[in-house]
Amino acid sequence: MREVIQYGTLDRREAVARLLAGRKKLLVVGGIGWASFDVMAAGDHDNNYYLWGAMGSAAMIGLGLATARPDHSVLVLTGDGDMLMSFGALATIAVRNPANLTVAVLDNGHFGQTGWQESHTARGLALEQVAKVCGFSWSVKITNLAGVDDLRDRLYSRCGVKFSVIKIAAKAFPRVPPPRDGSYIKSRFRSALGFQPI
């Protein structure tokens, strides 16, 4: 049966702030658009990597990072549009099954940056089921703050690759832009992990 409520009600800023509260050595990849603004709004951090472009890259950046740094937990926070553009990445990540990686999709069912056109998730696609079928060890839909708290605790576990869809309200929030200089963000991020410039 198709669900009655496809759009979520969670406040994306509140959900992300709660997810990142008390973060411990957590490496965060913020996807293109609102997702990066949400990560920035929760507090700029040297362990944050923000994207302003390269749509469809967030999840795979997370896989590369999680594979290179198994000693850290890695969280990819991105929107439904970005995740849909890298649909195949769900298969690539699942077969690798990195225990330190969580992909969390902030799902408002819309392409919010381009005029609020409905995405596939607003038309019935359940990304958490796609991830489950691909083989993610844990994959859930989150519709309330208790679910966000549960996800936050799981970020630091090592029991397989994790996926969640956080159903957020389909409405605009203030832009909280992180630095646009990708090279600066990269160098800052690497430096915080102890890597020197080339």
Partner: protein, 173 residues
């Protein structure tokens, strides 16, 4: 296979040996016949993460992530896959990180499948348009030195570098 030395084996082995000599820890790929030896060696190597992709642009994002985590990698693909990578190459232009690619060519010599030709004809130009430096290889003895040169410039200069393995090298279809 870690003891193999570039130049002493066939050019197929040279590809893997040069990558390893440059400290590559991640070999990400969409298969091409020309890469079958390198893929087999990478998959068998416990010190290398061999990642099979569903589409080539995943590999560019993966390598950006690995570099954020301090490690080197390379993307192996066919010329047709270069077309899939074009927008994702913006990631390299805006972020700058070592991006080393090895491309098995189709459609550049003795190609029997005309469907390979539209992308094969423009593979090198498309890479160049996206600010990727390219080296086309048609002789077996040039594979190791040209790949060594490309890897050196990628890993020491944050450049995007691609070595194109021509069909005269690989053998026409």
């Amino acid at each position: 296979m870690g003891t193999a030395v570039a130049g002493q084996e066939g050019w197929q082995e040279d590809v893997f040996c040069v990558l390893r000599q440059h400290g590559v820890k991640h070999v990400v790929y969409v298969p091409d016949t020309s890469h079958s030896t390198a893929i087999r060696l990478a998959e068998a190597d416990n010190e290398i993460n061999a990642i099979v992709l569903t589409t080539e642009e995943e590999g560019i994002a993966y390598l950006a992530g690995a570099w954020l985590g301090g490690e080197r990698g390379a993307l192996l693909m066919q010329s047709s896959g270069v077309g899939n990578c074009i927008n994702m190459l913006a990631l390299h232009s805006c972020v700058r990180f070592p991006l080393l690619m090895v491309v098995g060519m189709r459609g550049d010599w003795a190609e029997l499948n005309p469907w390979q030709c539209p992308m094969g004809r423009v593979t090198e130009k498309a890479l160049n348009l996206m600010n990727v430096m390219t080296w086309h290889v048609d002789r077996a003895k040039d594979v190791a030195p040209l790949l060594h040169g490309a890897a050196t410039m990628a890993f020491n200069g944050d450049h995007a570098c691609a070595v194109l393995l021509g069909q005269r090298l690989i053998g026409g279809t």
